[in-house]
């Protein structure tokens, strides 16, 4: 029988509002997406010069991971190889692909080109937090909590991972939503079981 697995933290960024563990921690309704992401970066007083070089999808996922792991994650509990990242979205890196395509008409931008894959988001998160575990980025027609639950549970139950950052990082033009979960074997105060029901409940949180 498999041991229980827990959601020990969650982070939602959607409609210019940020939630950490279901509590609103930041809101800025006045900004366009790039300005909103910069305001979020400045609000949390993060110092990471490479942030400004990322595309919007990577900024979104990277910021969500930053807030997710802030304060309550002790990475020292795990080997770097035991912490993985599993993400999904619908539109892949299309937001940047379109910008890159436009730049090709003049001189193609190498800095833009490197972001024309969605798994670069994972790379940025892994570089920041020194994570070396299994990772994957899936393209789905819509948010699929059951798939995320099954895939990550399999990785943890087979001892491929001990902890995993997983969830949804979607951005295209001015539409975006990210919902990230930190999943571990040991529960913390306030943890929820890592089930499809709890994943979907968290995903729907910002809808009230």
């Amino acid at each position: 029988m498999s041991a229980n697995i827990y959601i020990t933290a969650s982070c939602i960024i959607s409609k210019n509002v940020v939630y950490k563990n279901a509590e609103k921690v930041f809101e800025n309704q006045t900004s366009a997406v790039p300005d909103f992401l910069s305001s979020l970066y400045l609000h949390f007083e993060i110092k990471y010069p490479k942030f400004y070089k990322m595309d919007n999808l990577s900024k979104l996922g990277w910021l969500a991971a930053e807030i997710l792991l802030k304060d309550n994650f002790n990475a020292d509990k795990y080997k770097a190889e035991a912490i993985g990242v599993v993400l999904a979205n619908t539109n892949s890196s299309l937001d940047t692909d379109i910008r890159y395509y436009a730049s090709v008409k003049n001189i193609a931008s190498p800095a833009l080109f490197v972001y024309t894959l969605p798994n670069i988001v994972i790379g940025e998160i892994c570089i920041r937090h020194h994570l070396k575990g299994e990772n994957a980025f899936f393209i789905c027609e819509q948010f699929d909590g059951e798939f995320i639950e099954q895939y990550v549970t399999n990785l943890i139950n087979n001892n491929i991972l001990q902890a995993c950052i997983c969830g949804w990082v979607e951005l295209l033009n001015d539409q975006y939503k990210t919902v990230l979960f930190l999943v571990e074997k040991e529960a913390l105060p306030g943890s929820m079981l890592f089930t499809n029901e709890n994943i979907n409940k968290t995903y729907q949180l910002e809808n009230g």
Binding site: P49, Y52, K53, N106, S109, P110, A111, V114
Partner: protein
């Protein structure tokens, strides 16, 4: 030369999205890579694009890259020399 170096600093900041850095933070002789501004290999490619876009200069020999892009001053010297050749 001083004006060219100031322009280059502004262009490098804009092209490489170095939003935490101001032109006055970059010394003329400061190394651009590794221990200096900390630029990486993708930034090097962007600097090549910058030379092409803004100064119509193509780096003819890739081996010259480390020498040309060592600092803002070496970039300015390279641009000045190639502008003179193109006249």
């Amino acid at each position: 030369m001083d004006n060219l170096m100031l322009d280059l600093k502004k262009q490098i900041i804009a092209q490489l999205n170095l939003q935490d850095i101001k032109p006055e933070d970059i010394a003329d002789n400061q190394p651009l890579f590794v221990e200096g501004l900390g630029l990486d290999s993708i930034d090097a490619l962007e600097l090549i694009v910058l030379l092409q876009q803004s100064y119509k200069i193509k780096l003819s020999n890739a081996d010259d890259g480390p020498k040309v892009f060592r600092s803002v001053k070496t970039m300015a010297e390279y641009i000045t020399a190639h502008r003179a050749q193109n006249v």
